[in-house]
């Protein structure tokens, strides 16, 4: 199972995504944003999935989630 890190412009969007994605992906949880990945906000979302990054991106977009980046970690 692959692990992804998703960054957002603000904490509101992180928590909105966490609410919508819990149950859709495994291990959905908030984590500190590594400085190297984003300066957007201090919290990011971590999740696990067998899907590719493109597929994860599609699920997020279809769920109406506004995010900055998806990084495979």
């Amino acid at each position: 199972m692959k692990k992804y890190l998703i960054t957002f412009e603000n904490t509101y969007r992180v928590l909105e995504a966490e609410k919508r994605l819990t149950g859709v992906f495994n291990g959905v949880t908030t984590i500190p944003t590594p400085e190297s990945m984003s300066t957007d906000c201090g919290v990011s979302l971590s999740l696990k999935s067998n899907k590719s990054r493109t597929e994860v991106r599609t699920v997020l977009k279809d769920s109406g989630i506004s995010f900055s980046k998806i990084i495979k970690s």
Binding site: E9, N10, Y12, L15, E16, T30, C41, G42, V43
Partner: protein, 384 residues
């Protein structure tokens, strides 16, 4: 204490509100939206849930368009000062609170805006034909007090919203006296901008209110600064709610509002409306038995009837012949019966009622007010 000043601030608060605020202050009193440690995320989640609760209560699709403010006054100031430009025109009712009248008059002095006042019928309801006529010319915003904080008259905002939509005019509702007490649906009522305080009908501690702005309405915030986001940039972020929320929020009060809105969602606005209508009816019926007492405003409180032209909410104003409002207050104070006297920050409404400048005595029951408390007020007034 017999508390009948719920139009100023609701008291008591629902069960669990004080405990939630106390727990925050003693167990995890940290900032929100800036850090990733567990307590910070917990606080951010409480604020997120509070926004979601408000969105549910007012049928708002995107909770990020709900901005926390100090109170309804701050929310109204943000909107009016953000939207109105030099020579703009604002259209208001004849019953506005100073929270609308004062920022508008400030803008009149500083930006030469025009303030037009809608004609009212003998009871105080906006005359729809006058609204239609005035909207034939360019109006930048229609700003209306949903319910009078002086005598409880509730405007028919659904019809007003529909007329504003037809003319393509921004419609702002000051819901300070109705949020949490009367059903408000921003979509059904075509409300573009909604302002309310938390500490009245939404039953939270003081120090928090909110401003909702429909998607597409953009203007600069009143306050710029740190948001916990886009920190590498020296300019304000453009995304919501950060754009409009700089600096640390009043987290304790927002946590109280999260708990109180949870209570309202469980009890439902309908049940709260019916209960407050019943106790207000009881108050009015008993006040009407007192010799020499003049009661102001609609005398037919009832459950929320969205299409009714004759609605009222809980503030009840009266005077007693031969006594000034302050003399009545002095007698009630000695019995620890809490009412508010004077002009209630709404001289326009008092001029309409012809109770200016002395004002009235205002008794406003709340969700938790009991009939026996009203009985104590009535017995004391009868003894005057």
């Amino acid at each position: 204490m017999i508390y009948l000043d719920n139009a100023a601030t609701s008291f008591p608060k629902p069960p669990g509100v004080a405990e939630a605020v106390g727990e925050y202050l003693s167990e995890y009193s940290v900032s929100s939206g800036r850090s990733s440690y567990p307590a910070a995320v917990k606080v951010s989640k409480k604020i997120f849930t509070c926004r979601q609760n408000i969105a549910k209560l007012f049928n708002i699709s995107d909770a990020s368009r709900i901005v926390f403010t100090l109170n309804a006054t701050a929310a109204l100031n943000t909107a009016l000062k953000g939207i109105l430009r030099k020579n703009s025109t604002a259209l208001i009712s004849s019953l506005e609170h100073n929270a609308i009248a004062r920022p508008l008059n400030y803008l009149k002095e500083t930006k030469n805006i025009n303030i037009l006042t809608l004609k009212s019928d003998k009871d105080g309801y906006i005359i729809k034909e006058d609204l239609e006529n005035k909207l034939a010319k360019k109006i930048d915003i229609v700003a209306v007090n949903h319910a009078s904080n002086v005598f409880g008259l509730v405007q028919d905002i659904k019809t007003i919203g529909a007329i504003c939509k037809k003319h393509g005019t921004l419609f702002m509702v000051d819901a300070a006296q109705t949020a949490g007490e009367i059903k408000i649906d921003v979509k059904d009522m075509n409300i573009d901008i909604l302002a309310a305080s938390g500490h009245k009908g939404l039953l939270s501690p003081a120090g928090v209110g909110f401003l909702y702005l429909r998607k597409g309405i953009e203007f600069p915030p009143l306050v710029h600064g740190g948001t916990g986001s886009n920190s590498e940039q020296s300019i304000q972020p453009k995304f919501w709610p950060d754009k409009m929320e700089s600096g640390t929020l009043n987290i304790g009060s927002i946590i109280g509002l999260e708990k109180s809105t949870e209570f309202i969602l469980k009890r439902t606005v309908k049940e709260i409306s019916e209960k407050k209508s019943a106790i207000t009816s009881y108050l009015i019926q008993n006040l009407n038995q007192i010799k020499g007492l003049s009661l102001y405003g609609p005398d037919n409180p009832g459950p929320d009837k969205p299409r009714s032209d004759k609605k009222r909410t809980s503030p009840v104003s009266f005077n007693i012949a031969g006594k000034t409002p302050s003399e009545i207050a002095e007698i009630l104070n000695k019995k620890n019966i809490c009412v508010r006297t004077g002009l209630h920050c709404a001289p326009m409404a008092h001029k309409f009622l012809k109770t200016y400048p002395e004002g009235t005595v205002r008794a406003s029951a709340g969700y938790f007010t009991k009939e026996k408390e009203i009985d104590r007020l009535i017995a004391t007034l009868k003894s005057i």
